[in-house]
């Protein structure tokens, strides 16, 4: 006998359950987690390098770096002052998922950490689909990528709480219509907080750092 049975489940529900477990582990230790996503070359690692020294006196920071191969980014994070930097090689996978993050988290003693920065695999498509369990998701966009990225990758722009617009020092040299970019962003994600900045000139970096501090302190209460 043939029959149709209702399922009505989110396809990635299992990942989301695991993400909740990761969140619970962070919350148990009062650790604030941020998931940084971006296309390759947008400057995720540079933003982390800027961030670590400015928060090092205030917080003990762990960095988990997801990459298809190599430990270049974790090494850079360690050099920039991370208390611990863990590299998770995804073995060809184009994103981190909750299981991979869980494995990375197992190498960290969270009783000695206040802030976890996760650097996702450079990719504007896949990471948006996979919740990790961090408290905030941040997208690092950059001027040379072009002003049409929100239109081309709506899923990514919809799934984050903050947007860093990196490399603003290049604005005079690149045809980038900020108004067009921002209108697309606003339709996709009205509540998004944005941080235009340059890792080279340092312009805007303080605002980004202050936001992290505010969020970490809010989470403690």
């Amino acid at each position: 006998m043939s029959k149709k049975v209702p399922v009505v489940e989110k396809i990635l529900g299992a990942n989301e359950s695991l993400a909740e477990e990761n969140r619970a582990k962070l919350d148990e230790h009062g650790v604030f987690g941020i998931n940084l996503m971006a296309s390759p070359g947008a400057g995720k690692t540079s933003v982390i390098e800027q961030t670590l020294p400015k928060l090092a006196e205030r917080y003990r920071i762990a960095v988990i770096d997801g990459d298809i191969a190599t430990s270049i980014d974790a090494d850079r994070a360690a050099e920039a002052g991370a208390d611990i930097a863990v590299q998770v090689n995804t073995g060809g996978n184009c994103h981190l998922d909750a299981i991979m993050l869980k494995k990375g988290m197992e190498e960290i003693d969270f009783s000695k950490i206040d802030l976890l920065l996760v650097e996702n695999v450079g990719n504007l498509v896949c990471p948006a689909n996979f919740m990790l369990g961090t408290h905030k998701s941040v997208l690092v966009a950059s001027i040379p990528e072009g002003d049409d990225k929100p239109y081309k990758y709506p899923g990514m722009y919809r799934g984050v709480e903050a947007l860093v617009i990196n490399k603003i020092d290049l604005l005079p040299y690149i045809p980038f219509k900020m108004d067009y970019f921002r209108k697309g962003v606003e339709v996709l994600n009205a509540d998004l907080v944005t941080f235009p900045l340059s890792c080279i000139t340092q312009e805007g970096v303080d605002e980004w750092i202050n936001w992290i501090i505010e969020e970490v302190e809010k989470n403690k209460k």
């Binding site: 209702p6 396809i11 009205a190």
Partner: protein, 114 residues
């Protein structure tokens, strides 16, 4: 290329529900995918044919119901589907919208034999 883990999830959910209903075979799977959920149908089908081999869901037909994006303008109450190059409201150029449809990423139902 996140279709592999997505397909694995579809198979896991399908087999779990099939077991609950004492199915001997799964013939059809109905997926509901919003246009703002990035996934390639053909790629899921390709992975499906490999992953489902050896299970009671082998050879099941995957049906993709694609849901176009539908936005509701909070300024002028216009309902619209954005184009590739413009997301703002075509009537009033507003940017304050509510997303009514387009984020779906679900398995709606399966068809089984018992």
């Amino acid at each position: 290329m996140h279709e592999l883990p997505v397909t694995e999830s579809i198979l896991d959910i399908t087999l779990r529900h099939a077991k609950t209903h004492n199915a001997t075979k799964v013939t059809d799977i109905y997926l509901v995918i919003g246009d703002w959920s990035s996934i390639i149908d053909d790629s899921v089908q390709f992975h499906w044919d490999i992953l489902s081999d050896g299970t009671i869901a082998k050879g099941a037909n995957l049906h993709f119901e694609r849901i176009p994006v539908e936005l509701f303008c909070l300024d002028c109450s216009q309902t619209y589907t954005p184009t590739d190059r413009e997301l703002i409201c075509p009537k009033c150029d507003g940017v304050r919208v509510k997303v009514m449809k387009g984020d779906e990423f679900n398995i709606d139902s399966i068809e089984i034999e018992t």
